[in-house]
Symmetry: C2
Subunit: 545 residues, 2 copies
Amino acid sequence: METYLQDWRTTPAYRRLLELASRPCDLTAPGLLTPERLQRYRASGAGFDLLYAFARLDDQTLAALQELADQRRAVEQFDMMRRGVVMNRIVGYECENRAVLHTACRDIFSATPKHPQATELAKQQLARLHEFTQDLASGALLNEAGEPFTDLVCIGIGGSDLGPRALALALQPFALPGRRVHFIANVDPDDAAAVLRKVEPARTLACVVSKSGTTLETRTNEELVRRFFLQAGCDPRRRILAVTGKGSPMDDPERYLRSFFMFDFIGGRYSATSMVGGVPLAFLLGYDAFVEILRGAHEMDEVAARPQITDNLPLLLALIGIWNRNFLGMETVAVLPYSQALHRFPAHLQQCDMESNGKSIDRLGQTVSFQTGPIVWGEPGTNGQHAFYQLLHQGTTVVPAEFIAFRQSQYGEDTEVDGTTSQEKLLANILAQALALATGRPHDNPNKRFAGNRPSCILIADRLTPRAMGALLALYEAKIAFQGFVWNINSFDQEGVQLGKALANRLLDIFAQQRRQEAEAPPTADDLPRHLLDAAGLLNRSRSR
Amino acid sequence: METYLQDWRTTPAYRRLLELASRPCDLTAPGLLTPERLQRYRASGAGFDLLYAFARLDDQTLAALQELADQRRAVEQFDMMRRGVVMNRIVGYECENRAVLHTACRDIFSATPKHPQATELAKQQLARLHEFTQDLASGALLNEAGEPFTDLVCIGIGGSDLGPRALALALQPFALPGRRVHFIANVDPDDAAAVLRKVEPARTLACVVSKSGTTLETRTNEELVRRFFLQAGCDPRRRILAVTGKGSPMDDPERYLRSFFMFDFIGGRYSATSMVGGVPLAFLLGYDAFVEILRGAHEMDEVAARPQITDNLPLLLALIGIWNRNFLGMETVAVLPYSQALHRFPAHLQQCDMESNGKSIDRLGQTVSFQTGPIVWGEPGTNGQHAFYQLLHQGTTVVPAEFIAFRQSQYGEDTEVDGTTSQEKLLANILAQALALATGRPHDNPNKRFAGNRPSCILIADRLTPRAMGALLALYEAKIAFQGFVWNINSFDQEGVQLGKALANRLLDIFAQQRRQEAEAPPTADDLPRHLLDAAGLLNRSRSR
């Protein structure tokens, strides 16, 4: 058996970390948080600095985390992943058994990509995307009245929605004049209804994203959008783009204006740099800006290849997360961007992290007896300071925080109030929060006491540009993969979503059958869900018969 | 000492629950989830049903929870709160020492309100609000060009933002024709820049919300908005409304078009049914719809007065939360609305709950040695099913879920795909998720195994109307208060936000001083934060000098 598939708790580094965890670095110790510590506990790469002086670690912990990374062959596993080794597997059991090659989508800047075939496929799709954006710009692609398209409605859910949506919102200031994108995800019919009110059908394109071409929510919403176009006298075939797997039911040139392909070796939650993100982001920002996102992501993928953890931001962030989760016992991570533009980025990370690492068996199929992926949540600061930070400072549960900041604003429109700019206020607040969480404060009034020793990290770059966005995205993708590599879990499948889906389909079959028969079917042993439902009155007030 | 101020762990009910927790109800037991259980484990009130058959409890647990509620005098404390007893206090220590009377804002439907003076004050403000909306409708309030105002930009943060924002988004389908509201909260200058791009200054009003009139973010954003109006040649005094405390620096008729008052006895996070929510919601939806919100909230406040926990939805939800948190050891709660319209409601609850109950001392100033408020997070379903539900089903951490559902959609625009409507799909999915989480599934392939015993509750009403929204809001407000009453913590102050604020102000003083002097100040012992900042390079790349 490959050593990297062994239980990580058999490594000497694990035992060393367990020892160290009995007396973790005390952030409340007077004189600990010196300028020197901040200077030294700082890693840089791909335009980002990771400041980790506010984490509960010292040089000994760092050395043990480096050993853990080495003994778990973390960087080597990341390289194997990039080279196309089948990392999405459970040894000895039926599972997806696939390579994991989202990194190939952005490995387009060198003559010698890590996985030439996957990158070649990515380049073919990029060429199609380039052609599409050129046709939009040149006027080769116009509506029936000869007008350009202004709006794109994206239909997808989960990985086909959260990443592209978060990035599109984050990069609004870089939008091409007159271009807008919208997103419909939920099977809740009010989601589509609300979005379709905002667009003029004649000037609108739609993009349906589903690798399998069978996702229930997406098919349903596609149907709503087709109907919306038809009711306005617009031809859906001249308006709807497809992003799907080759050979899926959606791979049908008769029904779609243009098609772009996704591949088996890119999971939904890792697909923002594939055509899943490419179509909406290139429509909104232009092709060149999308390539800048890819450039930033690729630069961070290269940072993730560095052997020293103090140079490798994603690996270091992953290891600090493991230190907090498995050795200091913290169940959640708060991702707190001090940038309003990133307000949906925590939701993307929540999916990417929790769907990847919310697992209970290792890559040998054995039930683990340690904690895996944490609960990831968060909202932008400074808003959160006026909301849930109370618990972060004085609650009974310790929540490690990951702050994300930029030295400059996006729009550059700022004002001085009380002698400082808004951007200065934003940055002062991050540092103040990190300090307050770390050091706490004694006080005679117990209500004004702060225990301290609540760890955080700060990620900071100059400005939230397409390139920085790509780097930040890839940083977290790599962080999540690294944690899975250390824990020896498969971060790349999602069997946990299947049972609910199967049960929902059984219920829907029953509803459909009832609707067809216009009468109650005679009860059978298999009817439990319907009985439960009827008993609960979940539907009976709304059903008209 | 009043018995309700005693340590809750001294009650017989606590000890009984501890016993019961050693063998909690096994949801995976064959035959447990019968139609009868669903029928019986269902509480109704104010238009909502609470289905709790999927919680890990049985009749014995329910009896013990009822005893806990009784021995902690939970309903009595809620009544004391409504009658104006000073519930916001820590005995023996300096603190806010205030009554807690958000319920008085909606106690306007009977001749004998619980706290006549507070309700009278609320009615006076409602009358001013009514006049304002009538003046908008009649044309008494127009811009310089004699045109009606179409947009309202709300400036506030935390409690002055999250509740009104969540409700405004939830009730979009009920908006008056041509009316829009927008929200600016973050001190990030990009927040204001992005919002102000969307509105036409001449047709826009602004509403600044701050009880103290000194909130840094709000003052800064007010300044940006004033400048925006002036640059467009629009008079800010004819455009900016104030919602503030009487006597605050913002209580200044010279600077504002109209002023509405907030009172000391309503905390920010409980202020959505005061003028804080009133101004934006009545502008958007009309005065009558705002009164409908109040009606729903009041109806739920009355439900919260019921002595039997199986009739009292907020109390029962609170007790189930305590069962999960303190007896079954769960650190978080996921709030999962199966309604896209509620997509910001979890963020409001996150603030309301975590700022209220993220506390470490009891109402006698003693450090608690039990867990208080959990981490509250969530996103709408079915979206979440394609994202973080993997962890809910197969992760190593158990997350109790609170599903929120409606039998009918808001817009009533639906389509049948595969024989069922979208709304049916939505409801089938909730039930399927609750079932799958509860029962789990054995399987030969460990990757397809589900452990089960992951508890949930379902809240369901007919349709998300203003009245239902008010009831849902009040349900959670009361739930949070009940948990505080049982734990004997003060849910109504927020000292935990002070330290970060004080440190940020120190840093900003230093920045302002540097800016004034255009030179480095000579270092003093008090300069640590600046040194930290300089050492970290947090600002130095963006500062131009």
